[in-house]
């Protein structure tokens, strides 16, 4: 027994020693970049070499996120010098662990759309400290050290534009129902706040939000919530929704109740199905572009960062640290002109 034990101990010690040695080597290769100052170019991607990009996105629990993965992959395929890997997190908590694994694989650049910006800030900072520049998509990390560059839409701006649109359409008088996104995330809160601030400013108390419920960016939930609200409220003048995919369920509820003529509806995102409905006219009056193509753009930005280059149309030699995509309003007037920009999250 004793000899087996000693043998086992020796083996463990050897493994341990090897492990320590291996880890020790990694630290030396890590290299210098920690801070996000625009001055430091990325390591790893020599101009002319391949840029390895790893992307982490949340689980596809609604249409928009599904398209994010599609657009990111499409963008990567455009280039010969990009080695691309995309992982979908199994759930909100799993994403942090997945990113840790990606960090160990030492990609040149990391693209992250965090399920929740604040929760994933620590792991993003870790990546930055390990010398891997991070491109943050859509949902903001809570510190500037967590990303080299950010691309996002303007959620507050969506609320503002929708507020202005409805204020004008309804002449600052009426009952508005708000179907929100997933409760508690910044995307939802900003869209709610932008809308509330704007109608207060423009109309005082003229436009009243008579019901406000989360639809979770999901058509099922949108359907059921709207069905219940339609029972509760006899007079609805407008419905402000946070998402086109979710709005499909809301629209179905309104149609099933035969109340399409009573109100108008706005969405957000820019799905081709929404474009179709806007073109038809009637209930679906407007949507705001918040396209999943920003994930594709993020991949492009990541590649440029990996190559140590900037945007070709700008004079500055490096990729800007924040790109905000404006929420272009799409109504019956301009829907045909903007057709190319819609994303198919619907219609099959």
């Amino acid at each position: 027994m004793t000899s087996i034990r000693t043998l086992a101990l020796l083996v463990c010690a050897a493994v341990l020693a090897l492990g320590v040695a291996a880890c020790g080597d990694d630290d030396d290769d890590g290299g210098g970049t920690e801070t996000t100052t625009a001055g430091t170019p990325a390591q790893g991607g020599e101009a002319g070499g391949t840029v390895s990009i790893a992307a982490s996105v949340p689980p596809t629990d609604h249409g928009w996120l599904g398209q994010v993965a599609v657009k990111a992959r499409e963008a990567a395929e455009q280039f010969d010098d990009v080695d691309f890997e995309l992982v979908e997190a199994p759930d909100a908590d799993g994403q942090a662990q997945q990113i840790e694994t990606l960090i160990n694989e030492e990609p040149d650049v990391l693209v992250v759309l965090p399920y929740d910006g604040e929760q994933l800030t620590p792991v993003a900072e870790k990546a930055m400290e390990a010398g891997i520049p991070v491109v943050n998509v859509d949902r903001l990390f809570s510190t500037p050290e967590a990303a080299r560059a950010t691309i996002l839409g303007d959620n507050y701006g969506i609320g503002v534009q929708a507020g202005e649109f409805l204020a004008e359409q309804l002449d600052c008088q009426g009952n508005v129902v708000e179907i929100q996104g997933i409760a508690g995330i910044s995307v939802t809160e900003d869209r709610t706040k932008g809308f509330a601030d704007t109608i207060k400013e423009l109309c005082g108390d003229g436009l009243r939000i008579i019901a406000q419920q989360p639809g979770d960016f999901n058509p099922d939930t949108g359907l059921e919530v709207m069905e219940a609200i339609l029972q509760a409220e006899d007079e609805i003048d407008a419905v402000y929704t946070h998402d086109d995919d979710m709005a499909e369920g809301v629209v179905a509820a309104i149609q099933n109740a035969n109340r399409e003529d009573e109100m108008i509806l706005t969405g957000a995102g820019g799905s081709c199905n929404a474009f179709d409905l806007i073109e038809e006219g009637g209930l679906y009056a407007a949507t705001y572009l918040y396209s999943p193509t920003m994930a594709g753009s993020a991949v492009n930005m990541a590649r440029l960062i990996g190559l140590g280059e900037g945007f070709s149309d700008l004079l500055e030699p490096e990729v800007p640290s924040e790109v905000v995509v404006p929420p272009t309003q799409v109504t019956q007037d301009n829907v045909e002109d903007l057709r190319d920009l819609c994303f198919t999250g619907a219609g099959g």
Partner: protein, 334 residues
């Protein structure tokens, strides 16, 4: 154990008198008591709703809306009752619903019948996979259906290319969601038919007795000649089939087959079954209880949304009502 004759008489006397006291009061035992308590909960909720929202809650229109919404979870919960009665569980029903809906959506151009058959058929197929894994593979139901929970969701996304399939022009399919049979919404008719069918199956057939026996004491059932393996196979096939049916009802109302449908639906179904009085440990089941449980959830959702309660309060209130509903029931035996 042996008790001296004198004490034995006293014990049996006491038992007898207790029995007759229950009979005297007309009080049923065990599951039946819980069902009555749950009826009380439903009535209280309706009363509260009528008081708080007198114009919009206690209306025929609203009750139709509540029952229509309840029908999707309801149909699944009836099947879940059978599964739980065998001391099993099916965590995959929400994902199977999504995958079935997509399966139907892929062939919807061939007609309404094609849609319905494809949806229910695919649901049945996935249910059979569960059944096989559990009955033959000897995989624990929790694990087997957890795996299917993930697989079915993946299939739904894969088969649909992550995009919902529009059913806007499929009037035949939409009839399931918006049509009526003798002024009752089709979804509700189907739900009631499934509930009644489930009740008859559980309470008036040998199959139903077998199901409960398998859950109550598997070894005893096996020794008594109950075809245990076949019974277990059948209940998971049943939930798969009913998930496919639920997919038809939901997609019809949504006018779209969506790959992200049915998220966490299994929790609602299981919750409804359990607060209805069916025991998670198996051996005791009630279809009427499940029906009431489904109704309770649907009424709560409708009422809290009508009251425009902020979502954070809705979660808390829902949890408290559920806890209350279970505590009121106070079963005799765990």
């Amino acid at each position: 154990m042996s008790t001296p004759p004198a004490e034995r008489a006293t014990v049996s006397e006491r038992l007898q008198s207790a029995g007759s006291l229950r009979d005297l009061l007309g009080m049923p035992s065990g599951v039946k008591l819980q069902e009555f308590a749950l009826v009380g909960v439903v009535l209280v909720l309706i009363l509260v709703g009528a008081v708080l929202e007198p114009d919009s809650f206690p209306t025929t229109d609203n009750f139709r809306a509540i029952l229509t919404q309840a029908s999707v979870v309801g149909v699944i919960a009836i099947g879940m009752t059978f599964v739980i009665a065998t001391a099993g569980i099916d965590l995959s029903v929400g994902s199977v619903l999504a995958a079935s809906g997509i399966a139907g959506g892929l062939v919807v151009d061939e007609g309404t019948a094609a849609f319905v058959l494809a949806a229910m058929g695919f649901g049945l197929l996935l249910g059979m996979v569960n059944a096989g894994a559990i009955a033959y593979g000897r995989v624990v139901p929790f694990i087997a259906t957890l795996a299917m929970f993930a697989i079915a969701r993946g299939l739904a996304l894969l088969m649909s290319d992550k995009e919902p399939i529009s059913l806007l022009t499929a009037d035949g399919v939409r009839w399931f969601g918006t049509g009526e049979i003798a002024t009752i919404p089709v979804s509700v008719v189907i739900f009631l038919a499934v509930a009644i069918g489930g009740w008859v199956l559980l309470n008036r057939t040998r199959y139903g007795r077998y199901v409960v026996a398998v859950g109550g004491n598997r070894e005893a059932a096996r020794i008594a000649g109950v075809p245990v393996r076949r019974i277990i196979l059948s209940v998971y096939c049943l939930t798969g089939l009913l998930a496919g049916l639920a997919a038809v009802l939901l997609s019809a109302r949504l006018a779209s087959a969506s790959p992200v449908s049915g998220n966490l639906l299994e929790l609602d179904a299981i919750g409804a079954v359990v607060i209805g009085g069916t025991s998670l440990a198996g051996g005791r089941a009630t279809i009427f209880g499940t029906f009431l449980g489904v109704l309770v959830f649907a009424i709560i959702f409708n009422l809290l949304t009508q009251l425009n309660l902020a979502t954070e309060w809705q979660q808390i209130v829902k949890g408290v009502i559920i806890l209350g509903a279970v505590l009121i029931q106070r079963p005799e035996r765990i």
